[in-house]
Symmetry: C2
Subunit: 248 residues, 2 copies
DNA sequence: CGAAAGTTTGAGGGGAATCAATGTGGGTGG
DNA sequence: CCACCCACATTGATTCCCCTCAAACTTTCG
């Protein structure tokens, strides 16, 4: 019996996601459960972690949505990742001596904290679980690479579609998506910061997607009307996420 | 006494780089040395690993330069990373079930191969070394994020300068740079694929950098004429790499 | 109900792309 | 040892995707 509702839900979501990849023995599951110490809430707009700090805990998302981002001197912002339920949002901070980016809450957010000593203990005692956690950070890197490809070599329209595809599949992995929709509770300006385009152009591109009848986005919910169509526009190949679906 | 010249040089470069971050005990150094089995050569243009494959060894660069890249259906290419001496180029392949990108040689390249069983053995026996290797993949991810910021939110000129800064610092970490220069043996077209701009625009932007007298690039060698100037144009903050300079 | 935040629309401009041609240096074969 | 070739670098002309600035509209919420 767990400490509280979101607390347990987050850990079970993580376990479920890792299990898609490889079997997690009961002792490893328990090791994860006992490494979590408490949950914590943030309001929309709060920073969970700020750049250049050295956190002593890592956070697992229990509910809500957060973004990693960097600010450039001229005030421009680039979001480098979105994270949802079951994502270990700053496992990087466990090993990096300073965080190279900030993390902020896009909505109300609940996280579960894992003290770094507890994580270090896991790496000392559970090699297989350690590899699984390592893997989860490698998936973050794989997603970064997909964003690089999208931002570097495709149009605003493709980038937008690609991001929707990625979020749809990832939401589905943790049970947050329906057959054809998923929550996406952010503003167009935040989306612009993720895609490397201007808010105005996000708006115009969304209109175009709407006009092509491939998707809708109202009230923080994206509805996929034409899944093959969105994938095609976004040049989306889920292989890079698919690894979570298979066993080694 | 080692097996051969480049073979040893690569492993010692890796050890040196990891040591900058945290002390590596002799037994861990030996574990690394004995995990390497052989070296292998590639000609410029060869693929070391192709997308969607599941390699059974990971490669450490002993000499030369390689690029990770993705091809989009329309033929466009995006390079997502450059790697040099001492970089563990596809440690990702150790845990990912399929590689999400290809890796090709930009020059003649020598690598040292580490069988995945040997790496798995390290994770079972050497938790601290495992964390160090994990860290090295987190650094790759940190560099991806910097590229995202550069490509998403800065001009072609800044991106170019930023990349030169990064390569200069990284080459310095493994002893490949002089006080004010480093090897950069690639073509303008390859550079364009890394920066997400066209080859023509790379050429024009290089001319502008030359005109501002901040750097030169001839014969595969980049010479920094005005280090503060390049950093300023590239909005470069080495903090994200600096982690390798410090101890925890 | 008013204020703030977010979305939408319009007009005009610019950074970078594309297309196409020319220049250049290093390697190869006759 | 020079003519040729090929890959790469450079330049010019034109086009366009997206940006910026600015204002109006809409939705949310205290």
């Amino acid at each position: 019996m767990g400490i509280s509702e979101p607390f347990d839900a987050a850990i079970e979501a993580l376990i479920r996601r890792l299990s898609l990849r490889d079997h997690l023995p009961e002792d490893e599951r328990n090791a994860l459960r006992s490494a979590a110490v408490r949950s914590r809430n943030f309001a929309a707009g709060d920073d969970l972690v700020v750049q250049n700090s050295k956190p002593s805990v890592s956070m697992l998302i229990a509910s809500g949505m957060v973004a990693r981002y960097n600010i450039i001197d001229d005030g421009a912002r680039q979001i480098t990742a979105f994270h949802i339920l079951g994502d270990f949002v700053d496992l990087h901070g466990f090993l990096l001596s300073r965080l190279d980016h900030s993390i902020s809450a896009l909505t109300e957010v609940t996280v579960v904290e894992f003290p770094h000593e507890a994580l270090e203990h896991i790496t000392e005692q559970y090699p297989h679980l350690t590899r699984m956690l390592w893997l989860s950070t490698l998936l973050d890197a794989a997603i970064h690479r997909q964003w690089l490809v999208a931002i570097g070599r495709t149009s605003a329209m493709s980038r937008l579609a690609h991001l929707f595809c990625e979020q749809f599949v990832r939401a589905g992995l943790v049970g947050l998506a329906t057959q054809d929709s998923f929550p996406f509770p952010i503003t167009q300006a935040q989306l612009a910061d993720a895609l490397g385009i201007s808010p105005v152009h996000v708006n115009r591109t969304l209109q175009e997607l709407r006009a092509r009848a491939v998707l809708e986005w109202h009230g923080g919910i994206v509805s996929i009307l034409d899944w093959p169509g969105v994938q095609s526009i976004g040049k989306f190949d889920e292989a890079f996420l698919d690894i979570e679906h298979r066993r080694r």
